[in-house]
């Protein structure tokens, strides 16, 4: 994608009470790239997303999006730069309907007055309905988000991410709680999205990562253990040791 911005992490460390959740982590995601990040539990995958989205400040290191230093911005500012995130534990607004959740996520001016004056135009409605169809929740549009099943919540959060129209999507464990068919659909969706946008997917499920079929980064103990194609990393002795040796 021309004109897109690259995500650039260099020498990033995050220390919680002496514990290094990220340890000198470096990672580059090119514009339009679809990158899978795998690694054992506690490897620091979610912490990496926290650092990129402004939830956690790195103890040291560089985090840039294009020319912009993300460590100087707050969560809302980073989101408005075009970095969207799906959380490992799907989080949305349970007291609002599925449609209203999508409407809040929809890219539009974010100030109080703008929200007060907001009118749902036909175009915006069509856009929301189209995405609802894409994530298979069109029948649930008027249901409260709080009554959705876990898999449906995953879908809704992916839908909300799409509504933000981000340039970079950070997707944390999207297929947990999904059926095999849904997992396949999700992989297809992410592949379709990438190209126009950059996507970073964190996932445990190696079959899913294989279905994505792109470059894979393996994290372990807060830094990069291996990087390359799925076949490459699966045959990397260090990766085998970490995954099988534990």
């Amino acid at each position: 994608m021309s004109g897109g911005r690259r995500l650039y992490l260099d020498g990033v460390s995050v220390v919680f009470d002496g514990f290094r959740a990220l340890n000198n982590l470096s990672l580059i995601v090119e514009p339009g790239e679809l990158r899978s990040v795998i690694g054992p539990n506690g490897a620091g995958k979610t912490t990496m997303m926290d650092v990129i989205t402004g939830k956690t400040r790195p103890t040291q290191g560089t985090v840039n999006f294009g020319e912009i230093d993300l460590t100087r911005m707050d969560e809302a500012g980073i989101a408005n730069l075009g970095i969207g995130r799906k959380f490992q534990k799907p989080t949305m607004f349970d007291a609002l309907t599925v449609f209203e959740n999508m409407e809040l996520a929809l890219k539009a001016p974010r100030g109080p007055i703008a929200c007060l004056r907001w009118k749902l135009t036909g175009g915006a409605r069509a856009q929301i309905e189209q995405t609802l169809e894409e994530i298979g929740l069109q029948e649930r549009a008027q249901d409260l988000a709080g009554i959705l099943s876990h898999g449906q919540r995953q879908w809704l959060e992916i839908g909300m991410l799409l509504m933000q129209d981000p340039e970079l999507l950070l997707v944390d464990e999207p297929v947990a709680g999904m059926t095999d068919a849904e997992t396949e659909q999700t992989a297809a969706l992410l592949v379709r999205i990438a190209g126009r946008r950059s996507v970073v997917v964190v996932e445990h499920d190696l079959e899913f990562v294989r279905a994505l079929g792109r470059r894979v980064t393996v994290l372990c103990d807060g830094s990069v253990l291996s990087e390359g194609s799925i076949d490459h990393v699966q045959n990397d002795p260090r990766v085998i040791e970490v995954y099988l040796g534990r």
Binding site: A95, L104, A105, L116
Partner: protein, 364 residues
């Protein structure tokens, strides 16, 4: 599929029913001053006492609405809303004091009695302008609004939420109470302001004026309700609800939640100020007791009892709890505080959605 053609959910029907009920109730209130004009022997006669106390409750209902906007929707549990109410009241009180003019006991052409008594030579600068009605009304909005802006900005920016924010707002009203008790603040100290004579060129102690204030309050209640309704039904209202339930998630969607909360908090404080301003000429006095932390807590209980996050519930709660209070304080004055506390515990444990929740339970 068009979403507009979906049948209204039972929830929406209930909401409609509640609003219709509220409309009827407002109508009922509106005829009270008229029924007061009937001869005392007439079966429909409404006593002076009932009219005047209802006028007060209307002001409390506006305060409850303002609190519901902050707490019920934006999740800001303010335990200091009484301070905004009192500041609005003091702004109105200052206007009423200036209008006394030379009719005070000391007969000073400009200085209010308490200033003459304390040996003031001239009006403190912050009393200037309060002789003008429009200026005083502006202050009714600006003083509470500015305090909310400062306190809100300092706390929301530092991400102080939940119980810490509640304690902070409670400390705010307590500190103000202590400050207003001091004579050298220039607000009449302990005694506050009283002995008001007129407003807008009309003497205060006439039936016409009392009815006027009653209707002004009722109008303010209706307008406040419509304003809150407009806000909470807009996308902004849904942003507030989202902040209440998962503030951090809202930030990741790109909303500057500090600004959103600040906007709601300031607006809410201004509404509370209007309530206080309408209250003072009806009760004829304002003193530092209005800042008492207990007042703010009581307002929270009204909203909790009625059902927070519903608007109608706030109004309902203000009238029922205050009705109960008036009845009990004459029937068994020692019991009131226990009943109030018990009510809060009962509602928290068994009726988390308040009286409105009770109605909801029935329609399902």
């Amino acid at each position: 599929m068009s979403l507009a053609v979906l049948p209204a959910a039972p929830d929406a029907r209930l909401r409609l029913g509640l609003r219709a009920g509220l409309g009827l109730f407002i109508l009922l209130l509106a005829v009270m001053p008229l029924l007061n004009l009937l001869p005392v022997s007439h079966p429909l006669h409404v006593s002076d006492f009932l009219v005047s106390i209802t006028g007060k409750w209307i002001c409390y209902a506006i305060l409850a609405l303002s609190l519901d906007l902050a707490w019920g929707y934006a999740g800001i549990l303010s335990l200091g809303h009484g301070a905004f109410f009192a500041l609005g009241g003091y702004a109105m009180g200052m206007h009423l004091m200036r209008l006394i003019g030379p009719r005070g006991s000391y007969g000073h052409p400009i200085l209010p009695d308490f200033m003459v008594f304390l040996g003031y030579q001239e009006l403190p600068w912050y009393w200037l302008g309060f002789d003008s009605f429009p200026f005083a009304m502006l202050m009714v909005l600006l003083v509470p609004g500015t305090l909310a802006l400062v306190v809100g900005w300092l706390s929301f920016r530092s991400r102080i939420t939940g119980v810490y924010l509640s304690i902070l707002t409670q400390a705010m009203t307590f500190a103000l109470m202590l400050a207003f008790f001091r004579n050298d603040m220039g607000f009449g100290g302990n005694n506050g302001f009283t002995d008001f004579k007129e407003l807008l060129g009309q003497p205060l102690n006439t039936t016409a004026m009392r009815s006027g204030l009653f209707y002004a309050s009722l109008l303010a209640l209706v307008l406040s309700f419509l304003l809150c309704l407009r806000i909470t039904r807009s996308k902004y209202g849904r942003v507030l609800t989202a902040i209440r339930d998962a503030e951090s998630r809202v930030r990741f969607l790109g909303y500057d939640t500090t600004r959103h909360k600040l906007f709601a908090f300031v607006l809410s404080a201004m509404l509370a100020g209007v309530a206080g301003a309408l209250y003072v000429p009806q009760v004829g006095i304002i003193n530092p007791g209005e800042f008492s932390p207990a007042n703010s807590i009581e307002a929270v209980i009204w909203v909790a009892v009625g059902g927070r996050g519903t608007l109608v519930g706030a109004v309902l709660g203000a009238f029922t709890v205050n009705g109960l209070k008036t009845w009990l304080t004459s029937a068994a004055p020692d019991l009131w505080l226990f009943v109030l506390g018990g009510l809060f515990v009962l509602v928290t444990l068994f009726l988390p959605k308040g009286l409105i929740g009770l109605a909801k339970g029935r329609t399902k």
